[in-house]
Amino acid sequence: MTPSTPSPNASVLPEGWGMVIGLEVHCELATATKLFCCCPNHFGDQPNANTCPTCLGLPGSLPMLNEQAVELAMRLGRALNCDVKRSVFSRKNYFYPDQPKDYQVTQYDLPTNLGGHLDLPSGPRIGITRAHIEEDTGKLNHVGGGGRIHDAEHSLVDYNRSGVPLVEIVSEADMRSSEQAKEYANELRAILLATGVSDAKMEEGSMRVDANVSVHHLGEPWGTRCEIKNLNSVRSLGRAIDHEALRQIDLLTNGETVRQETRHWDEASGRTGTLRVKEDADDYRYFPEPDLVPLEPSAADIARIDAALPVLPGARRAALAEAAGVPATAGGVVMAVERGLDHLARAAIGGGADAGRVLTHVEHNLAVDGAETLSPERFGDLVKMETGGELTATQAKTVLAEMVATGGAPAEIAQARGFEALDSSALEGIIDGLIAAHGEEWEQFRSGDDKARGKLSGFFMGKVMQASSGQADGKAATALLRRKAGL
């Protein structure tokens, strides 16, 4: 254990304390079949519909390794900058009804991927210790006692998930705040999606995050860590880490000690509780799985995987940020890459559309299915109509939604909807008419205090929009009102 650098963003902690976080992420690989049998790897089917003698652990069955699972695991390893090594499957022995063989096939001393890293969008580089292949367990449904583990009367087991291929990605204890942990989880998820390795749905359990958390006085060695499980969203990950760090500090400042244990996050109460005291690795009695032979990727295999890797989210954000002249952490840049709209945005900006408007639309108005089918030229045309004053921001948003739905050209949609730009003389005519018709309100607007003016400004804007069938540019109308009032 080495002393860490001072904690950034650790403002939830009392002065002088720091936290140290490592994450273990399990993700289900996006294969058609399970890891060792030909049953479908599919979420949400009837209980036990996707089972066979192998994934039920029946006597006489043997594992048959899924080639695609190995391919996806190696692809993820390379995307995380790992060395892809000769690897061997091992048996991890324990008794629990979600595991019908009474052992889990995993990788122990010789994992497929070793020693990589992931760069957080905010800068820090987080080490990846390993990313190994293993099989998932079945799902226990606790019956009685309100579905809670601790007072269930019995459990019902669904083995559809038993044998589903997983990769477990173990990070170094390089994170120093819950914000960094959340960033890591989001970035890893983006990489899983970009590489097609997993659908990474935390709510369906195809991506599961466990957090190892310890605390220490800054400059002193790290404390004993606890592992937190049952984190069903990135938000709970952050909450649970902060809660756990404060719990440990509370113990230590009261002269107690932190026990190494696994704790369960309860989202409803916002607390962690003891699940069990951690077992030693020795107690799992790992040994090489005799029914599966080693994996030995050749240099050619790795070169082929590298060549086929897509451009990863970090590089895509950097490219868009450069094109737009904004930081890579800008909201529009992050959302563009997350929604797969960065090519669209770059093409529109490259075609001369205003970068700020492009990113604003991507961030706020394109969170819809089909946005990726937009033509960059037409998207750029829309932005140009907007910045050229032919469309108001509200009208542009409406036109954009229709472009996504129909694929039409912005000029035609604007014309069909009667979104001819309301020229300034028409706007002035409307406003003059309103002033004449509502003299009392106008007087109050001109001479009233800020509160009265705000209220009447809303009144006049409503009338302007009514009179112009919503085509007036709100900003221009406000400016004109103020000018006429001599403000």
Binding site: T31, A32, T33, C38, C39, P40, Q46, P47, N48, A49, T51, C52, P53, L56, L58, M64, L65, N66, E67, Q68, A69, V70, R86, V88, N93, Y94, Y96, P97, D98, Q99, L110, T137, L140, N141, H142, I149, H150, A152, E153, H154, S155, L156, V157, D158, Y159, K229, T262, H264, L275, R276, E279, D283, R285, P288, P290, V293, P294, L295, E296, P297
Partner: protein
């Protein structure tokens, strides 16, 4: 290395969910110690140049294509289970989560 305590035998038996009588522990402790002594003989050799062997066969990368085949055994297996309910295997409640 070759020594093995009763406590270790009891611990390993517990991990394997084996219920041993005192008599059986007395019998198995020296037998297991003898097996470990054999392993210690190998350990004493200088094997730095010998690669570790996890499997006896010189095979690597044995796999199958990722193609679905439905086994269709669900109902038969559930019917053979000690207890089933709602299409699932019914088991006694277990305290705590999986290790």
């Amino acid at each position: 290395m070759a020594s093995l305590s009763r406590e270790e035998v009891v611990h390993v038996a517990t991990l394997a969910r084996l219920e041993l009588t005192d008599e059986q522990i007395d019998t198995f402790t020296p037998q297991l110690a003898a097996i470990l002594a054999n392993a210690a003989d190998v350990e004493a050799l200088d094997l730095d140049d010998v690669p570790a062997t996890s499997h006896p066969y010189p095979l690597t990368n044995v796999w199958r294509p990722d193609v679905v085949r439905h086994a269709g055994v669900r109902d038969a297996v559930l019917a053979a289970a000690p207890a089933a309910q709602d299409g699932m295997f019914r088991v006694p409640s277990v305290l705590g989560d999986a290790p």
